[in-house]
């Protein structure tokens, strides 16, 4: 069965790139353009993995991760955090918020796939 991945990013081009790359690799990709929408979606569907951007309107990525983790149905779902900043402090914050891993933007499709495979096996 294909795995469901949620991408939360306000940039349509990033979402499209993620969707195209991952759906070619037989993943089912769901798009949310902000954290609030992502949260809503997670209430009706269980995702196998979540990828979220940091700089977004409505909620930042970190706020989204905290809120997402705060909901019981989302326990144990791996979250990968996207950011153009390479600051270690941010990675640490992301992790303490509940992210499993991170990836620095910009990234190549192959790199994205590698990270997803690393997370989902």
């Amino acid at each position: 069965m294909s795995k469901d991945i949620l991408i939360v990013d306000d940039s349509p081009s990033v979402r499209r790139m993620v969707t195209m790359t991952l759906s070619q690799a037989q993943f089912e990709v769901h798009e949310a353009e902000n954290g609030a929408e992502g949260l809503r979606m997670s209430r009706t569907k269980r995702f196998d993995m979540v990828i979220t951007d940091q700089n977004m309107p409505v909620m930042t990525g970190l706020e989204f991760i905290r809120a997402f983790r705060g909901e019981p149905q989302n326990r144990g779902i791996p979250i990968v955090f996207l950011s153009t900043e390479s600051a270690i402090s941010l990675k640490e914050e992301a992790r303490s918020a509940g992210a499993l891993g991170w990836m620095q933007k910009p990234f190549e499709p192959t790199q994205l796939l590698a990270v997803v495979r690393k997370v989902l096996g």
């Binding site: 600051a87 891993g101 990234f107 590698a114």
Partner: protein, 686 residues
């Protein structure tokens, strides 16, 4: 649409948000919410540009973003000078994005000068931050690199791994880490279960598992650590080489310079965040589809007109139900048409936003500080109109700064603020779109205008002109008041080009000026190009349509008001002046059926040739017609702008009054010459 296209479209939105944000910053001061929005826009452009390898955009956006970040962190206060740098940077970013989109070369000198401005605000961060985008610190083990042939270079490592409970709550799965390691070489996994207590003592929330792994691999220890990068800190980890690789290969990961962290970047956002505005739901649709729909709706309107005519011909009793339903059909068809037209309508805001840049640049080039005030940005206009207005408007705005505004000392002497104001307004008024460009400069110098026109032979030496007539000389081809063509508003384009561009859109431009107070240009445009109001007329047995927008009045003249001059020249005497008559039939190469004095005259305001009277045989009706271009099927025909289909299913040509007036004018040029020699005693107003 490719991802690349999506990205550039997104860039347009982001750049618009950027311009918006900067304008807000300027008007309402330093609000953290606005600064954040501005930062986000630049940041997103950088992020996307990086993915497409647009290095010029990335490096510039990075510098811009870094300064914005300092503002966000409160290290920098926004003052007028910084705002100007931001505006310039936003312009520059726009240029870079455009250059990237069109794959054209960038103007490095302009960019470097803006970069230099930005750098003065970078503080001491610059030195610290070795910014490089090829240095991708992606946390992927380059395990797939083909190992060197030399098997002797393999090393053996012992790994002790004891996960904490937090590792699982973040969604990690140790087996995946093992899988990752196993791809690097030969791996043995051993569970260390010694610490697991008896079942009765087992605490289900704690974690007692640990593993010992042994990996034989070509990869270095650093690469090995990379496999654990996501879990580091969430586990006890020990990696010990049992035997080192004899000849360690240069590895990729260890060479990758990690960009220095920006110490202050991205702190958690302040909690005082305002209630986020719900974004308006939009849909991006291919323009072709919209145009196909518009075309079909055009057909529907024609079809409706035809049905109406057929039913009328049936001569049904007035009480007939069919007539009521036909009325409903008409209304519905009109609703659909309006709805469809609204799809093509776009707010003028992006167009106006571009103009604020023009004002800034023109102000700088001429040394006349100026600001742009806009109103009615939400006014919606057909997309084509917006596109085709960009150049004329740019020209007018440049003119307004360059020629409209006085020099700074003159302004001060006149008691005006040093900074000039250019006002750009848009509004809907009675089915038209009104655009106004005004300045608070010295007004038109009529003496100078008249002199220039005389010097260039554009008017006869002894002619008496009213003030509006003098003002309108500006629109004559070949007119330019600037003594030497300034590199700004000159560019070989005169107001006549602006006037023609407006006319091509079915609009009109006029000018008013108050000495000492400024000049206002007013452009009146139809709401849509696909439908227009027209008079259905007949000329030499042909049914044709004349756009109402070009007609000032219709006249049924009396014989003695028509004067013949020379061979072909004929004039209509009308309220103290003479108007050249253009016989439409003759002009189009048709045979005139009626004698001139039986004809009806349509008084037409020509865009570049003053007023003339078009002689036609009859006016039948006034109605909305759907404009169908002839360009693709017939090419361009002199005197005909397009065609339409009438209710009876017949095709009617739409006259290009501008063109007819122009060609007609040459025929009556002689008349023009004689005009000035005639005594005004002949005049008899009808």
């Amino acid at each position: 649409m490719s991802i690349r296209d999506t990205f550039f479209q997104e860039c347009e939105d982001l750049l618009a948000a950027l311009v918006d944000g900067l304008a807000e910053l300027e008007s309402s001061g330093q609000d953290s919410e606005i600064v954040n929005a501005v930062f986000r826009a630049v940041h997103s452009i950088k992020g996307g540009a990086g993915a497409f390898g647009l290095d010029d955009v990335v490096s510039f956006a990075h510098a811009f973003e870094t300064v914005l970040d300092r503002v966000r962190e409160g290290d920098l206060a926004v003052d007028g000078k910084l705002l100007r740098v931001f505006h310039k940077s936003s312009d520059q970013l726009t240029d870079l994005v455009e250059a990237a989109r069109d794959e054209t070369a960038i103007e490095t000198t302009a960019r470097d000068s803006v970069l230099k401005d930005l750098e003065t605000y970078l503080g001491d961060q610059v030195e610290e931050e070795e910014f490089s985008f090829d240095a991708l610190t992606l946390d992927v083990p380059p395990a797939l690199e083909i190992p060197a042939e030399d098997s002797a270079s393999r090393g053996v490592y012992e790994i002790l791994f004891r996960p904490h409970a937090a590792l699982f709550s973040n969604g990690h799965e140790p087996s995946l880490v093992f899988e990752c390691l196993s791809q690097m070489g030969d791996l043995t996994v051993e569970l260390q279960d010694i610490s697991i207590p008896d079942f009765e003592l087992l605490d289900d929330s704690g974690l007692q598992l640990a593993w010992r792994l042994e990996l034989t691999t070509f990869d270095s220890e650093t690469v090995l650590h990379d496999a654990f990068e996501f879990v580091e800190g969430l586990c006890d980890l020990e990696i010990r080489p049992l035997t080192r690789p004899t000849d360690p290969l240069p590895t990729i990961a260890s060479e990758v310079p990690t960009p220095q962290p920006t110490p202050s970047s991205d702190k958690p956002q302040t909690k005082s965040e305002k209630e986020p505005k719900a974004p308006k739901a939009t849909l991006r649709v291919d323009l072709d589809r919209v145009d196909r729909l518009i075309n079909t709706v055009g057909e529907l309107i024609i079809n409706q007109a035809m049905i109406a005519q057929r039913i009328e011909e049936l001569d049904l009793p007035g009480t007939s139900q069919v007539l009521n339903e036909l009325e409903d059909y008409k209304l519905l068809a009109r609703d659909i048409q309006e709805g469809v037209m609204a799809i093509r309508a776009q707010p003028v805001k992006p167009l106006f936003q571009r103009m604020s840049r023009i004002v800034r640049e023109a102000g700088e080039a001429t040394g006349k500080p100026a600001k742009l005030l806009t109103t009615g940005e939400g006014t919606e206009v057909d997309k084509t109109v917006i596109e085709r207005l960009a150049d004329p408007l740019t020209h007018m705005i440049r003119n307004a700064v360059d020629h409209g505004l006085e020099k700074t000392d003159t302004r001060i002497a006149a008691g005006k603020p040093e900074e000039g104001t250019i006002r750009l307004t848009a509004a809907h008024r009675s089915g038209n779109v009104i655009l106004e460009v005004s300045d608070d400069g010295g007004g038109l110098n009529r003496e100078k205008i008249l002199q220039t026109a005389l010097d260039k032979g554009l008017v006869a030496p002894d002619v008496e002109l009213t003030e509006p007539e003098i003002d309108n000389l500006l629109f004559l081809p070949g007119f330019s008041t600037a003594k030497e063509v300034s590199n700004l508003s000159g560019r070989g384009v005169g107001m006549d080009v602006v006037r023609n561009a407006v006319a091509a859109l079915g609009g009109r431009i006029s000018i008013t000026s108050d000495p000492g107070q400024g000049t206002t240009f007013t452009i009146v445009l139809p709401l849509t190009l696909a439908v227009m109001d027209g008079f259905v007329i007949s000329v030499a047995d042909q049914t044709m349509v004349v756009p109402i927008s070009s007609i000032i009045e219709t006249i049924h003249p009396i014989r003695r008001n028509i004067h013949t001059i020379g061979q072909n020249g004929r004039l209509l005497a009308l309220r103290n002046r003479y108007v050249p008559i253009v016989d439409v039939a003759e002009n189009l190469g048709l045979k005139s059926l009626n004698r001139l004095d039986d004809q009806i005259f349509l008084l037409v305001s020509s865009v570049s040739h003053g007023t003339c009277a078009l002689a036609v045989d009859a006016i039948h009706d006034q109605r909305q017609v759907v404009v169908k271009s002839l360009k693709t099927s017939c090419g361009s025909i002199t005197g005909i702008s397009a065609a339409t289909i009438l209710g009876n299913g017949k095709i009617a040509l739409i006259l290009d009054t501008e063109e007819i007036a122009r060609t007609g004018a040459s025929a009556s040029e002689l008349a023009h010459e004689k005009l000035t020699q005639m005594e005004p005693a002949l005049v008899d107003a009808n």
